[in-house]
């Protein structure tokens, strides 16, 4: 398989409105060569619009698109040299898998033998060399998306664009194809922009994850940083689950349920705060008969759920707020609904917001 060095991509101050809705509101993003950036965000945050502007399928009202140091803002889609995989199945129904993969090569005037060879290589790359003569209606959704990936890669584009390509697939195929995409991306070193609303998918494949909100990137960082050190409450609450626990800030520390927790930058430095604590940073200890029932950290278990290696417990605090704790399955098994427990917060760095 042909390995190439990726190009840099720069989206600069993009703006795009649809009537009164600002899909992109001064959005900027830089991708390093061969990097895979995943844009993540809720519906309507502008992630797909950003990708479509980069593909040339949407015109930006303001801003510039620069690829490999060249301004392509006004270059039409068919001249941008980008491979794209769409959310909807996009194989041409009147062509076989092989013909679909050859389509872009045919447009580039490649001779038949070279075209067949390249298409064969790319179908092999996605593990579908035996399905070359099948039509779209003879393939499963996962196979169709893999052919679409092979078709996008066959033209050896400068940039690969993935617009929620896995969202129509079932969970198992999704994970397999997600890993396959990442393996291929690393293998050929192509600069890739991947858009998804699935945070697990984003965290699993990205070099960097960009969390978008209201047409802008709220935070862009490595997956572990996004998860462990969110810079805004939106990012903290959008990625994974979070508990909002009352606390008191004092400098770069806060006291939550009697435990001193280090605060992340951007948190208030004094006064009453809500501390955003991950479920895995909450521990539950069954209350013994001699415990003081009036302790601030006491709660009642209202639900438990088994999730394989770990489980989740919902507990209600005295002020009626719910807290979610993620525990080992064996610990969850020891708890029952209605049981009184004591909450202990782990002193992991957390973000806080003013009350």
């Amino acid at each position: 398989m042909h390995t190439r060095t990726g190009v840099s991509v720069s989206l600069q101050n993009l703006g795009r409105s649809f009537g009164p809705i600002h899909a992109l509101d001064g959005m900027s993003l830089d991708l390093a060569p061969s990097e895979m950036v995943v844009l993540l965000g809720p519906s309507g945050c502008g992630k797909t619009t950003a990708l479509r502007v980069l593909a040339g399928l949407e015109d930006a009202d303001t801003g510039r698109v620069v690829v490999g140091g060249k301004d392509i803002t006004n270059t039409p889609t068919n001249k941008r040299d980008m491979g794209m995989v769409f959310q909807a199945y996009s194989l041409f129904p009147h062509m076989t898998a092989q013909q679909n993969v050859e389509f872009g090569l045919r447009l580039r005037g490649m001779d038949a033998a070279a075209r067949r060879k390249r298409a064969g290589e790319n179908l092999e790359l996605v593990g579908l060399s035996t399905q070359a003569n099948r039509y779209a209606h003879q393939m499963s959704g996962g196979q169709q998306q893999r052919v679409a990936l092979a078709r996008a890669l066959a033209i050896q584009p400068q940039v690969l664009l993935l617009d929620e390509p896995l969202s129509a697939l079932d969970a198992k195929v999704r994970v397999q194809l997600r890993d396959q995409i990442r393996r291929i991306q690393l293998e050929i070193g192509i600069t890739t922009l991947f858009v998804t609303h699935d945070q697990e998918e984003a965290l699993a494949v990205a070099d960097r994850v960009g969390v978008m909100r209201a047409g802008r990137i709220e935070q862009i960082d490595a997956p572990d940083v996004i998860y462990n050190a969110p810079i805004t409450p939106f990012v903290a609450e959008f990625i994974g689950s979070t508990n909002r626990l009352p606390g008191h800030a004092d400098g770069n520390m806060a006291t939550v349920l009697g435990v001193r927790v280090p605060l992340l930058p951007g948190s208030p430095t004094s006064g009453q705060v809500s501390v955003l604590v991950r479920p895995e940073a909450v521990r539950l200890r069954p209350m013994t008969d001699g415990s003081d029932g009036s302790t601030a950290g006491t709660a009642t278990v209202v639900a438990t759920s088994f999730l394989g290696a770990h489980g989740r417990v919902q507990a209600r605090l005295a002020d009626d707020s719910l807290v979610i704790a993620q525990l080992a399955s064996t610990d969850v098994a020891e708890l029952s609904v209605g049981q009184r427990v004591v909450l202990v917060v782990q002193p992991a760095p957390a973000l806080a917001t003013a009350v």
Binding site: A55, G56, L57, P76, T77, N78, K79, R80, D81, M82, G83, M84, F86, A88, Y89, S90, F92, P93, H94, F103, G104, L107, R108, Y135, A148, R151, A152, I155, L161
Partner: protein
């Protein structure tokens, strides 16, 4: 075990019941099937009679002389029409040629006008779909005779600028076939994800013309065939516009010939119908051929 017992009991109960009621039920089923078959035969017979009696009458009239004797003169004339030198045969031959040219031009105009426009509206201007539909269906609401009143001044201009050739009727016919062709093509475009396919083709380097030619058209093949069917049938049978604008096509030629030689005109009408049928059959074969190969 309980499940097995229940099933066993049910089978035991069922067996005598089915033995006792079997022949009765079979007789009933047989009677119902016979009645259904008879009903089908009656429906087909009535329909065949409805369609065939006029055609048989036409054939009968074309071969019957006034003294009730038979003659194949009209049919001989039809067979030798291309080489005949008499005025009526030449008129009909000219009308036939004109109609075929008009079919080709009308279908070409209709496809060139509708396919890219409808595709573009679906891709870029979806809000205009209703407007497009309204405009395309409009000719359906205007009687041909009213349409001619509007077309007459235009055709006067065409006659002075270009010629009085009947082939310019193709513009009027393109308008006449719009509603039917639009419906057929719209159904075809509705059945495919034009937007995604067009975007995929564009991202792979295709021009807009390439998108329509290589992607859209092959995927709406059946719809295009249907639109062609309708256009062909309409143009081959069109009389009003051609007659009122004093142009010669097959139907006006047959009408003129029928004034002097009604048997010849009847034979021609039958032949025209057969040609139309054969063309439609050929088109339907063309439209479904690829799909059949694919599966």
């Amino acid at each position: 075990m309980a499940g097995v017992d229940v099933a066993g009991t049910a089978a035991a109960v069922d067996t005598p019941a089915s033995t006792a009621g079997g022949p009765k039920r079979r007789r009933l089923r047989h009677t119902v099937r016979r009645k259904q078959a008879a009903f089908r035969v009656i429906v087909v017979t009535v329909l065949m009679a409805f369609f065939l009696i006029p055609l048989i009458s036409l054939l009968d009239f074309s071969t019957r002389l006034r003294n009730n004797s038979r003659s194949g003169a009209a049919w001989s004339k039809v067979i030798s029409i291309a080489s005949a030198t008499d005025a009526s045969s030449q008129k009909v031959w000219q009308g036939l040629v004109n109609s075929f040219i008009l079919v080709g031009l009308t279908v070409a105009i209709m496809l060139v006008l509708l396919v890219p426009t409808m595709t573009w509206i679906r891709l870029r201007l979806p809000r205009l779909r209703r407007v497009m539909e309204f405009v395309c269906l409009l000719p359906l609401t205007i009687p041909a005779i009213v349409l001619v009143v509007g077309l007459a001044p235009i055709y006067r201009q065409i006659a002075s600028l270009l010629s009085t050739s009947p082939i310019w009727l193709c513009f009027a016919y393109a308008v006449l076939v719009l509603p039917f062709a639009y419906r057929a093509l719209d159904a075809g475009l509705e059945a495919i994800d034009v937007k995604t396919m067009a975007e995929a083709a564009r991202s792979l380097g295709s021009s807009w013309v390439g998108v329509i030619w290589r992607i859209v058209l092959p995927n709406i093949r059946t719809a295009v065939t249907s639109a062609c069917f309708i256009s062909l049938a309409l143009v081959l049978g069109e009389y009003t516009v051609a007659s009122l604008l004093s142009r010669t096509n097959l139907q006006t030629a047959i009408f003129i010939v029928s004034q002097d030689d009604p048997r010849f005109a009847d034979a021609l009408a039958l032949v025209a119908m057969a040609i139309g049928f054969l063309l439609l059959f050929a088109l339907s074969f063309f439209g479904s051929g690829r799909k059949a190969r694919k599966v």
